[in-house]
């Protein structure tokens, strides 16, 4: 984007992210985030936004919340990050708390219980699809597939907890994948 847009204030960050959260009811948070931040408000160029997504996916934490943090901190540092994060979380989290209260109040009723018995079979299918969704990216790397297989067996068969698994397998895998210096100089 060629023209310079003034950096958004804390309030603008808060409301902008709230608009992202509200627009995405029904799905597509990432697409709405780009539409509002890049196209409507012009806070970032498309390229800056994609860089942000790369960072948000690389670091721990929910991707969409990390993206809001990235956007906020680019303009207003830590306090901007908190403003953007509050914007993206406030309404969905309030709604979730209301759903939670309804659940804990009603889940012992017979009708709700039967309904939920069906619903959880669908969410289990959704959970199962998560691994398959990213598996294709590794299909040509036998080392990666081996590493994935070992991580899976460690957790599912040997009941290793996630934290020790990552602390042991992580550094070993990083040593393997450490970029080698090219030996031939151009």
């Amino acid at each position: 984007m060629g023209e310079t847009t003034p950096a958004p204030t804390h309030w603008q960050l808060f409301w902008g992210m709230q608009q992202v959260a509200l627009s995405s009811f029904g799905g597509g948070l990432s697409a709405w985030s780009e539409r509002i931040v890049v196209e409507e408000r012009g806070w970032m160029s498309k390229q800056e936004f994609v860089t942000g997504l790369t960072v948000a996916r690389l670091f721990p934490g929910p991707n969409q919340i990390n993206m809001a943090i990235y956007i906020g901190s680019q303009f207003r540092g830590l306090s901007g990050a908190l403003a953007a994060m509050a914007g993206i979380l406030l309404v969905p989290f309030a709604l979730l708390m209301a759903l939670g209260l309804a659940y804990y109040e009603l889940h012992t009723s017979m009708a709700v219980n039967r309904l939920l018995a069906g619903v959880i079979t669908a969410s289990a299918g959704m959970a199962l699809s998560m691994g398959f969704k990213i598996a294709g990216a590794y299909s040509k790397d036998p080392i990666a597939l081996g590493l994935a297989g070992i991580s899976f067996l460690a957790m599912s068969v040997f009941h290793v907890r996630l934290v020790p698994l990552v602390l042991v397998a992580g550094p070993l895998a990083m040593a393997w994948y450490w970029p080698r210096q090219p030996k031939v100089r151009p």
Partner: protein, 198 residues
Amino acid sequence: MSVMASAICQPVDLSDWQNLLAVIWDFLSLSLFSLGGGNTLLTEYHYLAVDKYCWLSSQQFAEIYAIAEGAPGPSSMIVGLLGMGAAYREGPLWGVLSGVMAEVAILLPSTLLMVAAALSWNRFKDSPLRLAFERAMGPITLGVLFAVGLKILRISDHDTPAYAVSLVVCVLMLRTKISPLWFMACAGLLGALGLVNR
């Protein structure tokens, strides 16, 4: 129908400050291990909420996961529902307070790291550390996500029709762009009609 957690499980009393701090510490220390968007932590959440602290039964955990998946907004807000479950028997207000504290605890460390990352990215983007980290964590995330999927499948499904529905939903999730809410609505109907049981 087994609504209550098993009798041998003794719930941690959250009115005791030391226990509350222990719970907050558990979520704080998991935060930086939420690889690949946070879903990798689901087996750890199950371990804490069902096995360690006995807030919920496995069945309730499966139900809460379904609610968090169906609700709009960013992923991994399930922690708010777990926190609510931890304190709900002390009243709805305590439930909400505990839910907010659990969510803050799981998000705080990763938020601070993300701010630091966003502000110093240009210095790190080409470092070998970043490249090695990115390549190494991908396959581990893949393995963990399969373990998470299998765990949720095991606690949700108990008979052949239930497994059949889950497999169909899994395939449709991968092959189509239909909103998952439709799958949940259809499966809920099957449950209400008594075609899928626990």
